[in-house]
Symmetry: C3
Subunit: 318 residues, 3 copies
């Protein structure tokens, strides 16, 4: 039985950019944490605490400064409570203005986040499950300003939480499946090369080491036969710069015209095998609740859950 | 507990332009009317009796003149029967040629509809649940000819049914989320301003008052923080011109690449709060059976149903 | 009760181009074959044994020559086993490089397939359910090279299997609903005319008669009111050239922005009535398991199954 890197972490996709909401309440979320636990998930990562005017907790800072809508429920509190109940580590995802950093106003993005991080740490910092920070600003290339965003925000998170909590980022590889704005196409012709990827991320990692602890590249933007090469580069670079290397193994299918439904088990298996082959220690996924859960509105997700469990059971017997 | 305008009406999306069919028979429809009733829905609105060659009842007029396909089942009869069983008011949606009025041939659209309305009233006019007319030709702006279409058809409907039945329209606000033909984009840059909206609809309402009784604007095309302004304008204009002002609170999510799945409960809640705040008396939705029903093929809809019910229960205790 | 051509065959959509995977294992597939059997399906057609680097069985030829991924399960073996258990005929779909024949390198596509067909026949040729070949390269027009591909590959399949097995193709009619690359549009303006269709397919059928036994045109690319004309042409041409004429009655809905969910029962009914009217003997569908099955992740499919069964039951009583 070929080894795969097991998935022991998942994002929580609230607020979502692009995945329709399941409209779960506390009871449904509790059931889903239970289903996560049953396959060994010990880490949950709130992908973002807010996006534009939508937020996950009643943030005075974001309501006042950004005109955000007061949420109907405090999801940060809910997820911390469930993490505590199910013995999981909770990572808090930062706020994404959806605006400043896209226009090069990095300092505004940073300043807003600093204020929100202070507020969050004051409100929830004493909660036992609060174990890490996730820097939600996702990038694929060594773009202007991003090292500074990651390094400054990562450092700020670490400092405020006494140096005890881990800081995680999850960039992507700028491959053939990177979505193209305003396009119906699934694939593009001008993806990055492994050499470019290595060169740029060597530089980024050098700049963020110490401020960021873990890098978990999204594994869905390059073709399946290209993935081993990229994973090897990622692992090598992380080792070189003293970062931990996880894989963010996407459980939705990028090859289909419906954007997005659960991935084919065989594709996930190919990706997790490739991660295991280069010694990636931990897999996290975007994300369990829509794409891999027996509770998902997408029944394909429940079947993926079963296929994954069956494989893991046999692998562990070997 | 903040007040929301309750949803007490829904469209029935047969024939559908863009929402895949659920393939329900009489038994499933009966169950769904029951689920509607359980949350207080007392009004069902057939969104259109036909579109191009598809029709909901065996219309001699439309089969002969438009080459429509004879339907496999008489949905108008079915929906009237279920409305009677569940004590609901049924609104009949007019025929949409999908052709004439898009080409400026308004008189042809009107004449065809007059013949169909006569036929319908003869066939179904004695049915006790038949309580209103819905003018299916949807617009967002004061475009050429539309006042005449609304006024003539509304008047014709009222006259033929003895002045007893209400006439409803459901235009939209031409905002940032108005779909752009042939585009993969979700948002656009050149939505209408509140001032333009007010000016144009002041004129439309002046022209249709007396022929149309109720206006229920679709609430999904403007951003959530813009909605209160638009709702206030709509209410003010309706009051000025003696129309009743409902809100058509869409229960599908316009912000997602999948077009369309159920809306996030928090978004619906924001919209219904905004409607209550300006005194909108009644909410209807497009539409219950796909997007808010426990019977929907989209399980997110069932969860939305539960979230809505829970909120309503607490609100009513207050 | 108007007669319809019954659906007694279905494609098995593994590997899929565009339909998200259901992640079924052997147990779920067994259940689905049972559901097929219950409505009279006696023929299953593997739509393709491989596409690009994905394959359905551990093909030494394709792994070595094309760098294909070794699959996690041998689906050809599984489908043959289930076909035997449920007394069905299995058609094997050829390999689609997704490359050579799109670039005019027809001979490479043929040679690769010949090697794979030899391998397949050696591995599975003795299996009692192996009853036919499906040439997976789909076309709509008399394009350069395609007669040669069909004739050569069909002949090769027939020869290797001792002339006992049938060879099937499933082209489409190049109508208004033919997808346009990189377009969000559902319809186009420049579909083929019946006259062009007839002229081109007269020529194609003349060229492939003897090498191909059955032609089952996809019925979803022309408008519903145009279909009778096309079906009549297809039947006439097939009779003229000594081919059997089936219809591939698509059970997904081409008229919706979600690509794709199950078709509306009334639309399927219109298409199957049109097929019966010109004497088409057998209906197959693309495809049962996603779009017409009570086991589908799309619940609309289960309702379609029920509507179809009900209609068939009444029709058979007549």
């Amino acid at each position: 039985m070929e080894k795969i890197t097991p998935i022991t972490g998942t994002f929580l996709d609230e607020i979502s950019h692009d995945i329709p909401h399941q409209n779960w309440g506390p009871v449904e979320w509790d059931q889903d944490f239970q289903a996560m636990k049953a396959i060994g998930i010990d880490t949950v990562i709130l992908i973002r605490s807010g996006h534009k005017r939508q937020i996950t907790y009643p943030s005075k800072v974001l309501i006042e400064r950004q005109g955000c809508h007061r949420p109907v429920v405090d999801l940060v509190d809910l997820f911390l409570t469930l993490s505590e109940k199910h013995q999981m580590q909770f990572y808090f995802g930062t706020y994404d203005s959806g605006y400043y950093w896209h226009r090069g106003e990095f300092q505004k993005e940073i300043d807003l986040n600093k204020a929100a991080i202070e507020e969050v740490w004051e409100k929830y910092g004493s909660r036992p499950a609060f174990k890490g920070w996730y820097l939600t600003q996702e990038v694929s290339r060594r773009t202007k300003g991003i090292i500074d965003v990651y390094a400054t925000m990562g450092r700020f998170c670490k400092d405020i939480s006494g140096g005890e909590l881990s800081v995680l980022i999850s960039p992507w590889m700028d491959g053939m499946k990177t979505p193209i704005a305003a396009s119906g196409e699934i694939y593009r012709q001008d993806g990055i090369t492994p050499e470019e990827h290595e060169k740029e991320w060597d530089e980024v990692m050098a700049g963020i080491a110490g401020a960021v602890d873990i890098v978990a590249f999204q594994d869905g933007h390059v073709d399946f036969h290209e993935l081993p090469t990229y994973l090897e580069i990622n692992k090598k670079l992380a080792d070189r710069h003293g970062l931990r290397c996880w894989t963010n193994s996407e459980t939705f299918d990028r090859d289909m015209p419906i954007r997005f439904l659960p991935i084919k088990w065989e594709k996930l298996w190919l990706k997790l095998k490739a991660a295991a082959a280069v010694g990636v220690e931990k897999g996290i996924t975007f994300e369990f609740s829509h794409f891999m859960s027996p509770n998902s509105a997408y029944q394909q997700a429940g079947h993926l859950y079963n296929r994954y469990r069956e494989y893991l059971a046999v692998m562990e017997q070997d």
